[in-house]
């Protein structure tokens, strides 16, 4: 990754409460444009994030942390098929890669919507974790926010965690 220039130090790297609506908007746009679906926002989720597939993209530079998308395997296959057409995502590896690309685009779309951040924050390549029995922690101190979405009754969790 290229070094960030001095302007990067002028960007606040603490979580701004307004970023939740920006992450919501960034996520919905990506789902709508790339998969042709508009998941429903769930403002008061009662359950904890769950699902066997977690895609993650690292953020480095003015903002350090990660963006994740978590959902069930069935939802990832559905999203992949919508993105690629037909049953293209019936292969687990293609469905995983498609979820990784969605996460990459959500992260990119999110930072593009925050003034000055696009040029000073880089994204890693996507990684996808399969399995539910894990916990993920970012170096302390950290803070984060989660957007809960529902697609045909199935939850999709989009989260931003940053090292503050």
């Amino acid at each position: 990754m290229k070094p960030m220039n001095n302007a990067a130090s002028q960007i606040p790297c603490q979580l701004d409460p307004s970023w939740k609506s920006i992450l919501e908007c960034a996520s919905l746009e990506v789902f709508e444009i790339m998969a042709g679906v508009r998941p429903v926002l769930n403002p008061d989720p009662i359950e904890e994030p769950s699902g066997e597939q977690t895609a993650m993209v690292g953020l480095a530079g003015a903002l350090c942390g990660m963006v994740t998308i978590r959902c069930s395997k069935a939802v990832s296959i559905k999203l992949g098929s919508l993105m690629l057409g037909g049953d293209a995502a019936s292969s687990p590896s293609i469905a995983r890669d498609a979820l990784g690309e969605l996460c990459n685009m959500v992260a990119g779309n999110f930072k593009a919507k925050i003034s000055n951040l696009a040029d000073h924050c880089m994204l890693s390549v996507p990684t996808v974790i399969t399995g539910e029995d894990y916990s993920m922690e970012t170096v302390e101190p950290n803070e984060g926010l989660t957007v809960a979405l529902t697609l045909e009754g199935e939850p999709i969790w989009v989260a931003l965690t940053i090292h503050s």
């Binding site: 746009e29 990506v30 444009i33 790339m34 992949g80 993105m83 690629l84 057409g85 293209a88 293609i94 890669d97 498609a98 990784g100 690309e101 990459n104 685009m105 992260a107 990119g108 779309n109 930072k111 593009a112 696009a118 040029d119 880089m122 994204l123 390549v125």
Partner: protein, 128 residues
């Protein structure tokens, strides 16, 4: 009318399929669709010639899209072939760098088939 020969460069095979699908959904009549997973592979494909347009990601391992663009200038069979860069980053600096290096346009992910068509069609000249 001549079908388009396209080179799609991206380290993600899924993204290459998405770009091809968007080109078709945008109404472009594709003939040969070649793929490369990084800039180095793309230079080998470009050397073979017969391309109408190249769509390339910027961030890739081995050789990124900007390095690919700089090297493409010395590939005679690809002379005059327009290159559209595709980026997730939304970084103006990267876009300016790509345009300075010879890219004829750029697309920011996420993109619609209509946006792909809008960017690509004006660059095709007599090919389309």
């Amino acid at each position: 009318m001549k079908k388009l020969s396209v080179l799609i460069v991206d380290d993600s095979s899924v993204m290459r399929k998405i770009v091809e699908r968007a080109l078709r959904q945008g109404g472009l009549d594709l003939g040969e669709v070649r793929e490369a997973s990084n800039g180095a592979e793309a230079l080998v494909e470009a050397q073979k010639g017969s391309l109408d347009i190249i769509l390339s990601d910027i961030n890739m391992p081995v050789m990124d899209g900007l390095e690919f663009l700089k090297n493409l200038a010395s590939v005679a069979p690809a002379k005059g072939v327009p290159v559209v860069m595709i980026t997730t980053e939304g970084s103006e600096a990267r876009v300016v760098e790509a345009l300075s290096a010879g890219a004829k346009g750029y697309l920011r992910k996420p993109f619609t088939p209509e946006q792909v068509k809008e960017r690509v069609t004006p660059l095709l000249g007599g090919s389309r």
